[in-house]
Amino acid sequence: MSDDAPEVPPPTAPTSPLEPWPDTVRWQSISTDLIWVELLRLAAGVAFVSAVLGVGWALTGSWPFGVALGAAGVFALWRAVTIVRAVRAWGYAEREDDLLVRHGLLVRRLSIVPYSRMQFVDVSAGPLERAFDLATVQLHTAAAASDARVPGLRPAEASRLRDRLTALGEDRAEGL
């Protein structure tokens, strides 16, 4: 893979960028209903932009509006494909001492957040998410950069995760 290999061998050879430790970590995926939530959000945004562009085109008749409308359509299609893949790529894993969250396709991210560093847990559900019976759990630490957000959980799973996180956080609490 490279000419100067690392001195420290990795615990296990990573099979893919998103699965660092396949045999020690059991990844859980999130509900695929989140795809519909995200698609509806995208559709609303695209519909608004298209309406503005369409009205502009109809009133002025200048061709740049048409080009922009076409571009918006292409963008919507591309986003729709990536949304499906991105939601499938989103995963989390509860290890003994920390929570792993991975997400992202273009820019892939993996967050490792120890339970003991937890400051508070957010559970939120917007109207669209509620319509599909979903909720989002977010774990906050004292570091602003920490990024442990798990969307698209069933409410039961969300409250289970929340309770587990808070219980583990209390056990091992050391905030700073």
């Binding site: 990573p14 273009l106 820019v107 892939r108 993996l110 120890p114 004292a142």
Partner: protein
């Protein structure tokens, strides 16, 4: 934790020695007075008995304190008078005089703790401060438009308004220490009481702006996590009171698991000369080095070109109006402000260690003396600016949770550990702050050779390594930076891989801390990045629970 292992056995004798010195220096005091009570012993400050004890639960300062420095002895006239009246009311818990010195920090206050007011001169100082703001806000163009007389009138009206508000807010502001909590009451219409649990205290700072220095006052600032900016600035207290309160708060905030805090070092005595920093002195930056170091900044370096440019413009266009000149000068001052501010801020920079705390004292016009418990240090950042490399100089900064990104003004983030110093000094201070860390022998490894596609020039400089107790990351081609994060302070670990990095099989590992940006090891080999993340997580876990 990690901070408690460092100092040798010479610490306690040195502290005791300092105490002796200070006690000897303030010989005016009665023999029975504890050294902390810098105030009440100076007899000249006592109001005549007819004034009576302070009324109500508040501690009112003696009337002599607000009447100006005339008749009082110059040495610390405000401090003693502002400290307390001659007979503290029975309910006043701050410093029961007959108690032995150890009683200052140790036993809980007797009776209900009373609310204490800030120093009565503080509204005047706030008013003076707002005067400057008002003048700056009205700016030169207003002056030219309305004429001098109106300008003065506007300034006076606005400043008067600000002063009235300052007086009202002073009257309604009070603080008290209840148990392990500091409570601050403020507000007239919207009352607010803020309780600050002292276990959460990250750092304490005593700041003395120029005006406060002239009047013998000081501002006490507490840093707690979660506040967007400095919480609870107590502006202003008398110097003795601020020092004593700082001691008391730090003693209360002490290490929850650690041993009892060592004997409190003597409070800052009042006087014209700033006293030596208590504790074991580590380093003092020479002012000459500081000046040279700021002359070696881009701003100072490029100033002659700026002046020449402006001069040529003026000479060619022949427009010497007052406004143009004044505005240009103001703009020029703005550019120069940063180096000049740094020189003023870091003047007479002294670093000392007092038990498991760092004490930093600096400033010319505005002196700051900052106290940071060592176990609150989240990150140490070493910087080698380009122009300093000819001298082999470096700069050290420390991050404490609470000075997070919320503070827009960099000046209010007192994160300096060493404004300028050579390599051995830097190594000594780093070893002191993070025991067992040798700056020059950190095991840094560069990223793989293919990382040169993303970092064509700086690949050799980039480096990351796991030392015994810290994670170290080096970056920056021109301004070289080394970030050191103790494992015990890690908050979370992230691995991020962008599209280009994916093509090259690289990834960036972020180690997040509670204060500042944390450390990012950029463009590591993917397998190396996973190993690094796993190792960081494991070592962070081990550092948090030393004996599982």
């Amino acid at each position: 934790m990690s901070g408690s292992a460092g100092p040798g056995p010479d610490r306690n004798p040195s502290t005791a020695h300092e105490q002796d010195q200070v006690e000897g220096g303030l010989g005016v005091r009665g023999p029975g007075q504890p050294p902390e009570h810098a105030g009440p012993a100076v007899p000249a400050a006592a109001p005549p008995p007819g004034e009576g004890p302070p009324h109500g639960p508040y501690r009112e300062a003696g009337p002599s304190s607000s009447s100006g420095p005339g008749p009082q002895p110059p040495a610390g006239w405000i401090g003693p008078a502002g400290w307390t009246g001659p007979q503290p009311p029975a309910g006043w818990s701050g410093a029961p005089e007959p108690q032995p010195p150890a009683g200052w920090t140790g036993p809980p206050p007797q009776g209900p703790p009373a609310r204490q007011r800030l120093h009565p001169l503080s509204p005047a100082l706030h008013g003076a401060k707002s005067l400057v703001v008002v003048i700056a806000g009205l700016s030169w163009s207003t002056l030219s438009r309305v004429g001098f007389g109106w300008f003065v009138a506007m300034v006076v009206v606005l400043a008067l308004g600000a002063s009235v508000i300052a007086v009202i807010s002073w009257y309604n502001t009070g603080y008290q220490v209840v148990g392990r909590e500091l409570r601050i009451h403020e507000g007239l219409l919207w009352r607010r009481t803020r309780a600050i649990p002292l276990e959460r205290l990250q750092a304490v700072e005593v700041v003395r702006p120029l005006l406060a220095q002239l009047t013998g006052l000081a501002e006490l600032r507490l840093e707690v996590v979660g506040g967007g900016k400095t919480e609870a600035p107590l502006a202003y207290l008398s110097v003795g009171e601020a020092g004593a309160l700082r001691q008391r708060l730090l003693a209360l905030a002490g290490h929850p698991s650690g041993a009892t805090p060592a004997a409190p070092s003597p409070a800052v005595p009042d006087g014209a000369e700033p006293p030596p920093t208590p504790g074991r002195p580590l380093h003092a930056v020479s002012n000459r080095d500081l000046l040279i170091s700021q002359l070696l900044t881009p701003q100072a370096f490029l100033l002659p070109f700026g002046v020449a440019f402006v001069a040529v413009q003026f000479l060619s266009e022949d427009s010497w109006s007052f406004i143009a000149v004044a505005s240009t000068l103001t703009a020029m001052a703005g550019v120069l402000l940063q180096p000049v501010r740094r020189v003023l801020d870091d003047w007479r920079f002294q670093l000392a260690r007092d038990d498991d705390r760092l004490r930093i004292r600096n400033g010319l016009l505005e002196t700051r003396s900052q106290t940071v418990p060592l176990h609150r240090v989240q990150t140490v950042r070493v910087t080698w600016p380009l122009l300093w490399r000819v001298k082999g100089w470096l700069r050290l900064r420390l991050e404490v949770a609470g000075y997070a990104a919320g503070e827009a003004d960099e000046r209010n983030r007192p994160d300096r550990l060493l404004p300028v110093g050579d390599q051995p000094t830097g190594e000594m201070i780093v070893a002191e702050v993070l025991p067992g860390v040798a700056l020059s022998s950190l095991p840094l490894r560069p990223p793989p050779a293919r990382a040169r596609w993303v970092n064509p020039l700086s690949r050799q400089i980039l480096g990351a390594g796991l030392a015994e107790q810290v994670f170290a990351v080096r970056s920056g081609l021109l301004t070289r930076q080394l970030t050191i994060v103790p494992y015990a302070r890690l908050q979370s670990v992230r691995v991020v891989q962008g599209p280009v990095q994916r093509l090259l099989g690289l990834a960036t590992v972020h180690a997040d801390t509670a204060g500042g940006a944390g450390a990012a090891a950029v463009d590591r080999d993917l397998a190396d990045a996973w190993a690094l993340a796993a190792e960081l997580t494991a070592r962070g876990q081990a550092a948090r629970n030393p004996t599982p």
